[in-house]
Symmetry: C2
Subunit: 226 residues, 2 copies
């Protein structure tokens, strides 16, 4: 693999593990056993590495969020989108963590991320429309649809952060891809009231598969009371 790609990969890995704030360019170089000079030959600065990672994240999400507009959407479609989105969220989980700082220090990223958000909100809306066409959920006035989409976006993009802050310091209940997907449970909760009656049971059953397991972990205790 090319050094440039190795740098991107190693950075993503370290960022995800330790948080962008705790990973320096020297760490990245050391991790790859290359010199700092070498790293800076390939990237002008740390922001450039992050920007490059963002572009890949964007590409991935754009790929999964191509919504067909020539046919209505099914429940399977919806679950596919949810699974894909949370997979992406896991792979690039560092990103939404220090987001505000990243955007503050890179104008280009700020602008691109704004557009990215906008496209995602749009895609969520389209999915809802497709599901309404497919008779899975009720039709809604566009204003409600937009507000709903935004709520879905908020829940999806911040579920990881919630997990991180909700668990204790012991490693036993550290976030994992499995726990992350409990976010799907939360998103389905948002959709419940708008389901057409004939889909209600099916979705409730689906949703139950993502329910946080009760055997008294800290994060599940949070969901009930302490």
């Amino acid at each position: 693999m090319k050094t440039r790609d190795k740098i991107i990969l190693a950075s993503l890995e370290l960022f995800n593990e330790r948080g962008e704030r705790n990973v320096t360019t020297n760490h990245i170089a050391a991790h790859l056993a290359i010199s700092p000079g070498n790293l800076y030959y390939h990237f002008r600065n740390k922001s450039d590495i992050i920007y490059e990672i963002f572009l890949e994240y964007e590409k991935l999400v754009n790929y999964y969020l191509q919504i067909p507009d020539d046919r209505p959407l099914t429940l399977e479609d919806m679950m596919f989108y949810l699974e894909s989105v949370f997979d992406g969220l896991w792979s690039y989980r560092f990103f939404h963590r220090d987001l505000e700082f990243l955007l503050d220090s890179d104008e280009r990223l700020r602008e691109d991320y704004r557009k990215f958000t906008s496209r995602c909100l749009d895609a969520i809306g389209q999915i809802f429309n497709g599901l309404a066409d497919g008779g899975v959920i009720e039709a809604q006035p566009p204003e409600l649809r937009s507000a709903m989409s935004l709520n879905v976006w908020l829940v999806v993009t911040n579920w990881m952060a919630f997990l991180k802050t909700a668990h204790g310091s012991d490693l036993s209940d550290q976030p994992s891809i499995h726990k992350l997907k409990q976010g799907i449970y939360q998103v389905l909760t948002l959709e419940l009231p708008y389901l057409m009656p004939e889909y209600r049971e099916t979705v409730l059953a689906l949703r139950d598969k993502y329910r946080p397991e009760l055997p008294e972990t800290r994060s599940s205790r949070l969901l009930t009371s302490e």
Copy 2:
């Protein structure tokens, strides 16, 4: 005012304005025109200042989230809680920004924040129960109630972050207490489907007051499409 209190106040102000990551202890001292030595006479380290601020934040929220359990809740109660919570969120808006890093570097804060979250989720649940008792919203099975409360929490605590990332670099659409309160619109959106029919119109009207104004600002454009 005592120097110690001045330090807390100035820190909060600077953190809110520039983000905790961009504010050093030297900045704080300089801002107050005191020496670093003086600052460190009053606080062992930066984390201690942050922890102290957290305690005040916690106190404020606890104060507003005392839910009466001897009477049902009204719509006015609910709006009071929402307004109060968003006011608090605004006053301590730096806090949820670099949250994960803060918790990583202070075990005590991590533990306290976990309990804080837990109490807040509980309070949200109690509010819903109270509103159900008051005939404002439908009764719900506890499992749905918990999931709903968690969604409200996610929307509330991350609305500020969304605003920050959604606006452009020009100052015109910078977050403000006014924009922050559009978060109330989002929360009310979550509640809409569970309202008792006789409250529906009233809440829709209330909600409309918090609706993002349309005159083509960037953030409102985000809410529709781009």
